[in-house]
Each structure stands twice: as structure tokens, then as C-alpha cells.
Symmetry: C2
Subunit: 403 residues, 2 copies
């Protein structure tokens, strides 16, 4: 692969520089370089590749006819409805996950963590489907699969074996779901989960919708196990709604332990319920990453595969108005996302993987609130999208030659 | 003006029809019409003109260099900061309000209520500026001005006289701001406000940020005055945060009175604080309209002059997922907005003003969540924007001839 030179870009809104890419990595930032392939960027804002920390690619109906949502309001209604819908519709998790992953890439997301449903009805069907999507996009997009027991673990015997098998087949992370509210026994559920994760040496990412003290008690036990098993820096809590509605002293106690054990929070900034405060988490030293959760599926009609829009929604939810606060919102879908998920070599420093998003914006703050068109997306040193549209697969498979 | 025929549109996602426009109004819906000017719409979704019920056109920095926000977190910090900024910057409320109003129109908003700052520093400068914008867009966009005491009423003597003068000069609505939290005397503040409104026979739209029982007590006194002065159907409460955090029985009591006195709620669906529940308001028979509040000003970096995006944000805040609920989200920026503000002849029925927005969407629900490009905006029977861009002022001033 020839060297690639991006002329006249402003990394995160800083002063204009040229960026030299050699192979798949950033070789230099500065000026007075040259390369066979040069792209004149006209002072555009340069962002690192965006990071989606919480997707459900396998569920999406993106691009399909409108799904008429008449689902009941409880979590259990949504879980049951989805399982019924899937059995009846012949939902194609392979095709759908690929369509949505590509749409994410076209909008500048080069690393993505997706939960993949595993249950005793569907078995490992979704896992195989999303493994194929991961393979199809290898080199263009780094995709992590979380083996996710959407219908519960203890409550549906046989699920643990499926999760075990999923990790053996290549799932990157073990998922979990409401050890108390869904599984009914936080201690047994967490022991089982941590046991499987430890056996495979895999990280954990646990959906925790449980609110108030119910969730806090689960979180306490979870943190005990992180500590006991030496899993510091390898566990994330998705949603963590309880951190949004316990009192301040309880929250401080939980956040202090999470910071110490390097347990990250992955948030969508849900507008309709209490969520972990981004500023409180950051002040305590807890990493906060951003994710979309489901996009256009049987759970929700909302969503767009655009991490800048997610950063905006997280900003709105957390009332982030100041410039320094908007920078934190962007971090949830860049550096903090990479940290929470363990994506290596992310960033705009020499040696990092050459993943870039170019937009017309005065600064990173404007990029968050305006969510401008992605002029150019570069992944692993190759141009993969222009003006928000993926360039043809043929070109993606080949090497970049033009400006 | 020749008749205009829109061929093959789906009003609110219903079956395809042709819409005949005669002069400024809808003359017929059905088929087998013809007209000199026809536009083939290819089955696009037809929405009525969108309604913005709560803007601050005079404050916006839309299109200007990025405003670095380092403002403190309290309401009073933001009020003081803005007054200082204005004194120092020579902010041009005329040019700015026109730029933003046109941007709203390009995205399909044909009726808009804007609050206009009036205080003893700036006097009526903003009022004159926005009156000029209203005049410049007359016939294209119906703009209501609310004379708004942003810096308080009682606390800044001389303000009441300015409000009085503003109504005399052509402001359509009298505004107010936190009679207790800002003015410090809810009874005296409300008496003064209602007195001015009654003297001019104008409606009222009062910003009520006050939370919990503080706001509820103000709302009680406000409702007393609506009843005593026979102002049913002519008063709106903007924000009404207290309705989001008093207990259910207190809320029920307030909503019951509001429904009876036809006092509307105007909400932005603020994600970061308690807000009135759209479903609870609707169940009680209270009209709920949607507004953006400030867009890119010294208060907030966020916002886009797009009422479909505002409907989405209101939907997210209220956890509206079902199809029937998304229809309610759209109503906040269409029929309910028109009702709350008293915009006449709004809708897609024969006899209504011919204000339309055409988008590519399967149904109204998709229009809310996807916020698609506005293919065509028609205001008062004339094409004013295509593909989200206003057609040139010359063309706007003339009559439509092409398809």
C-alpha cells in the first residue's frame, strides 16, 4: 500500500497539519511530507474513527418495510414480542447486521461492539450470522461480538452452554442481562457469568436496567467479582440506570469502586429515564462510552447509525452546553469508547490505526451539535466512504489510488 | 394565482390522492382534477406545514462563527451572560432572526411563534428587528411575536411599560417568566401580566421553569386568573417543568383545570430535566405543542430549525415507541402546535391554508424518526423550497409556474 497524505486537516479542531499514513497506521503529523497519493482537505475538521460501544446489529430492521409497533410497555413485553416476531418473520440477522454495519461505516464508525442474541429458541443462529458480517468487513471495520442472553440466563436452562459455545466459536465478549430483575438471583446469575468469562479469559459487558437499590445491590456484587477475579479494566456495565437514581452518597460509593476497578459505563443517554450522570462519572474517574442500543427494530422505531448524533443525544441528556463539556460528549464516541471496549491503537497520534472522519465544521463542538455530512471516511489507511456513502465494495477490496 | 395540483401524494401516510390548491387554500382532495400547474409527487408523504410553537429567533447566532460557551450553570448566569454578550457584541437581532426564520421555512415550518426579548437595557430594539422579519416574510410564513421579559418584570422596573408599548406596536402575545423564581412575587407578577394582556386583548404565553410545588403554586394562581378573566383557550404555559415533578395526584388536579380552561403546554421535551408527560397531558385533555426553544445561542449550542427533529426529541423524551404514540409526537409540531398558538386554518382539510411539506417516507412515523429531506415545501399555495433549500427570494416573491 502506498503512503497516503492528508493535506491541511485540523485534528479535533486544532491548527492545520498534514497527516502521513503509512500502511494502516499514522506515520507522522506535521508538514513538509509528500506521498504518491495526496488528498487536499481544505482545512476540514479531522476526527478519529468513531466508536459504537453498544449496538444490536442482529436485531435491526434497517432498510426493511416499516415495522408497525404495537408492543406493550414492559421490558418483558418487548423481549417476548421480539422472540415471537422472529419465529414468525424469518428475520435474517446476517443480511441485516451487514446492512447496518455498512451504514455505520459510511458515517465514520470504524470500531463497533454489538451484542448478539443467544437464546434457547434461536440457539447460535444470530452468532453465526454476525460472525459472517464481522468476517465480511474485516480490515474495514473492527467489530466485537458480545454473546448476549437476551431472554435471560438462569431462567432459560441451556443458555449457559450456548454462551460457552459462543465464546468458543469466536465471540469476543460475554454479555449478561439484569441478574436480579430478569434472572431472579443476582448472586447465582453473576457467579455463572463470571465463571464462563473466566474460563474463556474474555471480558464482560452486562446490561443493567435494574433501577435504584435493586441495581445498586447487583452492581456491588458485580464489583466484588471483578475484584476477586482480577478482571480490572475488562468489565463494562451497559445502561447502569441505577447510577442515575440512587442517592448521591450511594452513587459516590459505587463510582469510587468502579473507578478503582476500571469498570466502564456504556450509556445511550436515554432521555426518558434516569441515567448515569456523565459529569459525575468523569469526576469520579469512571470511563463513560456511548452507544446507540437498538436502531429501528421491534424495540424502538428510533435511531440512526451516526455516532455524532449519539454524542449529541448524550450531550442533551447530560445538559452539556459548555465547549469543554461538548468535548466530553465527543469522547464517549471516540477515545472513551475505545477504552471501554478495549479497541487498541485508537486516536490521532503517530502509531495509531489510520481511521479518520473528515467533516466541515469549525471545531469538534460544532461537529457534535450539527452532525455534518461525512466528507471522507478512512479506515485502516484506506478511503472507504465519501459524502456519507460507502464506495463500491470492489474499491473497498482494492487499494486507494485517487484523491 | 393559477390553480396548483399536487398529483399522487399520501396525506399523513393515507391512500394516495391529488390535492387541488386554489389561491392560498386547499380546494379539493381526491382525483380527476386538473390545473395549469401540476406537480407529480410520486406517492410522497404529505404533511401539513410544520408549526414551531416556541422559538427565540432574536437570540440565535445561526450562521455566525462558533460561540465559545463558558457560561455558568444557573438560569441567572445565562440571563446575565446574554445581556453582557449583547452589549459587547452588537448582536443584530434583525439579520439573525431573518436568517433563522428562513432556515425554518426551508425545513417546512410555515407557522412560528417566537419570544422576543424586551428589557430595560435593550428596550424595544429586538421587537422592532423581529417585526421587520415578520414583515419580510409576510405571506410566506406566519410569525407570532411574544413580548418576552427575559430579565424579569417586577425586578426590573420599567419593563411593564415596555411590554405595554410592545403590544401596541404589534406584538401578538404577551410573555412572562417565572413569576416566583425570577420576579419573587407570583401574585403581583401575574396580576401585572394579566392586566397588561387584558388591556390589549392579547393572549399569554408564560415561561414556567419553576419546579415542584413552587411551580405548581404559580400555576394555580395563573389558572385562577385565566378563569376570572375569561381567558379560556388564550393562555399557554411554556416548559411547565413543575408538571414533570409534582406527585401524580397534584399533577392530575392541575391538568384537570388546564384542560377545562384550555391552557396549553408548550414543551421542548428537554432531556435533562423533568418535563410534563405528553401522554398524561393528552389523557387529561391538555393540548401539548412542541418547540425548539433557543437554537445556537449563548444559552445552548444545540438545535436545528427542523420541527421533525423536535418531534423526534419529544418522542424520545416521552418514550413514545408505538405507532399511535409517534402520531402524537408529530401532532405537537402540527395540529396541536396550531391549536396552542391559535394559528387558524391549519391542516390538510379543504378550506385550510395550503401549507405542505413533502418527504420520502413510508408513513408519518418514519418521517418523525428519520427526519428526511424536505423534497418540497409549499406555503400559502406557493412552492417556497425544494430539497431543503429555499428558492431564491425573487421566485418566492413571484408566482409558481414550474413543476
Amino acid at each position: 500500500m502506498d503512503d497516503l497524505l492528508l493535506r491541511d486537516v485540523r485534528p479535533l479542531g486544532g491548527r492545520a497539519v498534514d497527516v502521513l499514513v503509512r500502511g494502516r497506521v499514522i506515520a507522522a503529523l506535521g508538514s513538509a511530507h509528500s506521498a504518491l497519493t495526496e488528498i487536499r482537505c481544505g482545512g476540514a475538521l479531522l476526527l478519529p474513527g468513531l466508536v459504537e460501544s453498544h449496538a444490536h446489529l442482529d436485531k435491526t430492521l434497517w432498510g426493511l418495510p416499516w415495522y408497525v409497533n404495537e408492543v406493550g410497555p414492559r421490558l418483558q413485553d418487548r423481549i417476548d414480542n421480539e422472540r415471537r416476531f422472529r419465529a414468525a418473520s424469518g428475520h435474517d440477522a446476517g443480511a441485516q447486521s451487514l446492512v447496518l454495519a455498512k451504514a455505520f461505516l459510511a458515517q465514520g464508525t470504524t470500531r463497533l461492539r454489538t451484542h448478539v442474541d443467544i437464546d434457547t429458541d434461536a440457539g447460535l443462529r444470530h452468532l453465526h450470522a454476525v460472525l459472517a458480517t464481522r468476517e465480511a468487513l474485516r480490515g474495514l471495520m473492527e467489530i466485537q461480538l458480545v454473546a448476549f442472553p437476551q431472554s435471560g440466563l438462569l431462567r432459560r436452562p441451556g443458555t449457559a452452554d450456548l454462551l460457552d459455545e459462543a465464546l468458543r466459536l469466536g465471540a469476543d465478549v460475554l454479555g449478561g442481562l439484569d441478574p436480579q430483575a430478569i434472572d431472579g438471583d443476582r448472586r447465582a446469575s453473576l457467579d455463572l457469568l463470571f465463571g464462563i468469562a473466566a474460563r474463556h479469559g474474555k471480558p464482560l459487558d452486562i446490561h443493567l436496567h435494574e433501577q435504584g437499590e435493586e441495581g445498586a445491590a447487583t452492581l456491588d456484587l458485580l464489583l466484588d467479582r471483578v475484584q476477586a477475579l482480577g478482571m480490572e479494566g475488562r468489565v463494562a456495565v451497559s445502561h447502569g440506570f441505577c447510577l442515575g437514581d440512587v442517592d448521591e452518597s450511594r452513587r459516590a460509593q459505587l463510582l469510587e469502586r468502579m473507578a478503582r476497578l476500571r469498570v466502564a459505563v456504556i450509556t445511550t443517554g436515554t432521555a426518558s429515564r434516569p441515567v448515569p450522570s456523565l459529569l459525575a462519572c468523569r469526576a469520579a474517574g469512571v470511563c463513560v462510552a456511548g452507544g446507540n442500543d437498538g436502531i429501528r427494530d421491534t424495540w424502538t422505531p428510533y435511531g440512526r447509525p451516526d455516532m455524532l448524533e449519539r454524542a449529541m443525544l448524550i450531550g442533551l441528556r447530560n445538559n452539556l452546553r459548555r465547549d469543554d463539556e461538548l468535548a466530553l460528549a465527543l469522547e464517549t464516541v471516540t477515545s472513551a469508547g475505545a477504552q471501554a471496549c478495549g479497541f487498541a491503537d485508537h486516536g490521532l497520534q503517530v502509531g495509531c490505526r489510520a481511521d479518520f472522519v473528515l467533516v466541515e465544521a469549525q471545531n469538534l463542538q460544532e461537529a457534535v451539535v450539527a452532525r455534518p455530512e461525512r466528507k471522507l471516511v478512512i479506515s485502516g489507511g484506506r478511503v472507504v466512504a465519501r459524502q456519507g456513502t460507502l464506495i463500491s465494495s470492489a474499491t473497498i477490496a482494492g487499494s486507494t489510488t485517487g484523491a
